[in-house]
Symmetry: C2
Subunit: 121 residues, 2 copies
């Protein structure tokens, strides 16, 4: 099982996916390019700084492309690359699972908290 080796490159990918906003940005771009502010609005509560960092990282990984138009006011569009698009499929599987099983997970967490309460008064 390669993925379990500490030096396995798959770690790298999973860690990128796992970062706070990566997935949400990718999903937000799933239906076409978006400008910075539109993306920010879609993703929700993220700050400009963090969104920028996320985009730079996704760009470095070749998942997202950035295109700046030489206009005033400035216009920048972010878009999924083909590689980024190819990631949508496994992500959809994850999302489907999450949406189907979130109630179970949350219920389990509740029970766990109740158990802690019972111990500590």
């Amino acid at each position: 099982m390669d993925v379990l080796r500490p030096d396995c490159p798959s770690r790298v990918v999973m860690q990128r996916i796992g970062e706070r906003w990566s997935m949400f940005v990718i999903l937000a771009l799933a239906h076409g390019p978006l400008r910075f502010t539109a993306l920010k609005a879609r993703v929700g509560v993220v700050t400009s700084k963090v969104l920028t960092e996320t985009l730079r990282a996704l760009e470095a990984d070749g998942l997202v492309s950035r295109r700046a138009y030489d206009e005033s006011p400035p216009r920048v569009e972010y878009e999924l690359t083909p590689l980024g698009v190819s990631l949508l499929e496994p992500m959809a599987a994850m999302r489907a699972w999450a949406e189907a099983h979130v109630p179970e997970v949350l219920a389990s967490r509740e029970r766990h908290l109740d158990a802690l309460d019972a111990v500590h008064g």
Copy 2:
């Protein structure tokens, strides 16, 4: 698109998956229960403390079960719950993608580093 709302429960699941060791522990348990030390050896470089934390979190989420036998020396077995097992399928999709596309991602990162070098000397 529900998953993009800040209060969407899917975030919760994705964040758990994204944590440093969660995925590796789940994959390590994919083929049956393991004792703490065996799990530690399989996962690789993780410390006891961090592995314990990861296991507690997965337990709270109902993905992993912990069973302690009343023996000496102590014996504890960790095993995927049915919920945990159900997660293997979407995870396999992710892993397949990662293994297929890691070279592209790494190459992209290289290029990006080269570009930075060119700028900064």
